[in-house]
Amino acid sequence: MSAPSHAPESVEQPEAADTVTKAPDGRGGSDNRSLRQIAWQRLRKDKVAMISGVVVVLLILAAILAPLLAKWFGHPPTQYHQDLLEPNTGLPYKDPDNPVPPGAFPSSEYLDRWGAISSEHLLGVEPVTGRDLFSRILYGAQISLLVAFLSTLVCVALGTVLGIIAGYKGGWVDTVISRAMDIFLAFPLLLFAIALVGVIPEGILGLTGNGLRIGVIVFIIGFFNWPYIARIVRGQTLSLREREFVEAARSLGASNRHILFKEILPNLVTPILVYATLLIPTNILFEAALSFLGVGINPPTPSWGKMLSEAVSHYSTAPYFIIFPGLAIFITVLAFNLFGDGLRDAFDPKTSD
């Protein structure tokens, strides 16, 4: 890019601090990629982040299309197939056509420890009830991801708003919000979740049954976890507020609202986005913990946490029943974590190319 002739300039060398690791930035002012485009290029180079990104997208699709997939692959999640199961042990037969010969002891040679995985039932069948495991995991994804996304949304929204106000306004407002952060962090979240779920009356805010249960869990996670993100947003806002382009905007006569939403908020989007992807897995685990403690979603709707806690009692006689939901949680949480890390490194200005 050369400057017009009448202002002779030596070829403009964009200053790049001559630090040890970074080479002087040889490139002229030629690239017009936005920060996001640069981050996208970096992300594309990070194989781990890309793979986990793909997995995340697949999971979300699976959750959304669960009814279709269930119908196409297997069976509705609550349909019983008890003919495949031996009545007393509830374990699937190895060969359903000629089950245990009468009078013989239902020992393991007749029973299939791996849940009669077949073309009909891709991941086999649940013991005792005989419901199709594949479709239950699909529907479970719906609940788990729904709870995780909604609660992260509430948490991020609340945290961002309060974080910005505390960071930008400063003074006593900042002290009040910061004190509130300490208080909220002190709450034994898991214990209150259990207490609250049992107490919220049916039909509050027009929600009933599972809708209410999900509403309560989302409220608890969102309402009690916002300080984690508020603290980050407050820190960022404090440093952004001192930046000269904010002073410049103010000198142009821009209102506080303009400065907040046009100048400061765009710069907060990346840290918030990165943190949100790391918050989703934590919320998936929280829902699982609640179901384990017997407080989660009403039966027969499956959620991964509930399936895991039910499966735990059959873990030695029907290991498949615990492995598949456990694997589902593990893969999702891992994918989100790795994707979040990849995102953070891509957007981190310091990471050298």
Binding site: T19, V20, T21, V48, R179, D182, I183, L185, A186, F187, P188, L190, L191, F192, I194, A195, L196, G198, V199, I200, P201, P281, T282, L285, A288, A289, F292, L293, G305, L308, S309, V312, Y315, S316, G326, I329, F330, V333, L334, N337, L338, D341, K350
Partner: protein
């Protein structure tokens, strides 16, 4: 030159003030959830009392319980009584016997009629040894992994270490705890059944009993510390004073452990203080999975059975631990980072 003593004293008083405020609010919210919310949900005092009376209670027994436990009084009065008893202690009448409940009186459990404070204190050692043991492991483990993967950024070790740390975060604790118990204790018989033995009595048994719960609980937190240390180290290694240290001719090992580690660990001090505070309040799931009779297990039973004095006691104890840990961190901080001293 440490700041004048009065300033430190003022600082501590201010932090204690904030702590007391925290305790008051936490207790108030607990009261709100257990007393006000049920009322909104349309639960009558009798309905609440039915919880603490045995099977098929007669209406008279229900009314007697309502009166004995003061369930019909307005919430504000109950809250006031709770705080009054906490500060001045009170007397309880059991049958013909009146029992004195000393100053930090947390009252008597609705279901077991045993004094809450005594129960909490008897269960405290279990949770404390679980929390501190796990805290030591996740701090050392997390920091070690974080430092090594920062130093060897992008290497196989870095990816692997972060991967295993992530596994810890990705699996629910009752899953890892369960598998650990099933394999390590029951099938491979490497460790005895984790049964709590007070440290004073038999340190050896105490250690072998607690090592498995420690590792399981630590595994959960280690990932966060590894990631935090790694980020901290990477940032510090880019600072000028590290380049100065190298220019002085220091070996790479000294540069990392003497010059880079300390500033990188300073921010970790704050989150460590908070995490220990939270875990001291009772590692609910770990205690449940390993059948450790700690405060977490006590809290779960109390919440399920709506044993309000116990729930209040546990929540208050948890909040006290958090206040203490935050205070300790605030006092340690100036020692670790002298720059903070002026702004103290």
């Amino acid at each position: 030159m440490p700041p004048p003593l009065t300033e430190m004293l003022n600082y501590i008083l201010r932090r204690l003030g904030a702590g007391l405020l925290l305790l008051a609010v936490v207790t108030a919210v607990t009261f709100w959830i257990f007393f006000v919310l049920p009322k909104w949900a349309g639960v009558t005092p009798r309905g609440m009392a039915a919880l603490y009376v045995g099977k098929a209670p007669t209406p008279e027994a229900l009314d007697a319980t309502v009166e004995r436990l003061g369930l019909d009084q307005p919430v504000v009065v109950q809250f006031f009584n709770f705080v009054k008893d906490l500060i001045f202690g009170t007397e309880y009448v059991f049958g013909r016997e009146t029992v004195e409940c000393a100053a930090p009186c947390l009252g008597y459990s609705f279901t077991t009629n045993s004094p809450v404070l005594e129960q909490l204190l008897s269960r405290l050692p279990v949770t404390v040894s679980l929390a501190l043991g796990a805290a030591v492991i996740w701090l050392i483990g997390g920091v070690a992994v974080g430092v090594l993967s920062a130093v060897r950024k992008g290497s196989l070790f870095d990816r692997l270490a972060m991967g295993t740390a992530l596994v810890g975060v990705s699996l629910p604790i009752y899953f890892t705890g369960l598998l650990a118990l099933a394999f390590v204790v029951h099938s491979w018989k490497l460790l005895p059944v984790p049964r709590y033995v007070p440290l004073a009595e038999d340190p050896g048994a105490w250690f072998t009993a607690m090592i498995l719960p420690w590792i399981t609980l630590a595994f959960l937190h280690a990932a966060q510390y590894a990631r935090q240390t790694r980020a901290g180290m990477l940032e510090v290694l880019g600072e000028d004073y590290i380049r100065t240290a190298r220019a002085k001719g220091l070996s790479e090992r000294k540069v990392i452990f003497k010059h880079a580690l300390r500033p990188a660990l300073t921010p970790i001090l704050t989150i460590f203080g908070l995490d220990v505070g939270l875990v001291l309040g009772g590692a609910v799931l770990t205690e449940k999975v390993f059948s450790l009779k700690g405060i977490g297990a006590y809290a779960i039973d109390a919440i399920i059975g709506k044993d309000l004095p116990v729930v209040l006691g546990v929540t208050l104890l948890g909040a006290v631990f958090i206040v203490i840990c935050n205070l300790v961190v605030d006092l340690l901080y100036p020692l670790v980072d002298p720059r903070v001293r002026i702004a103290a």
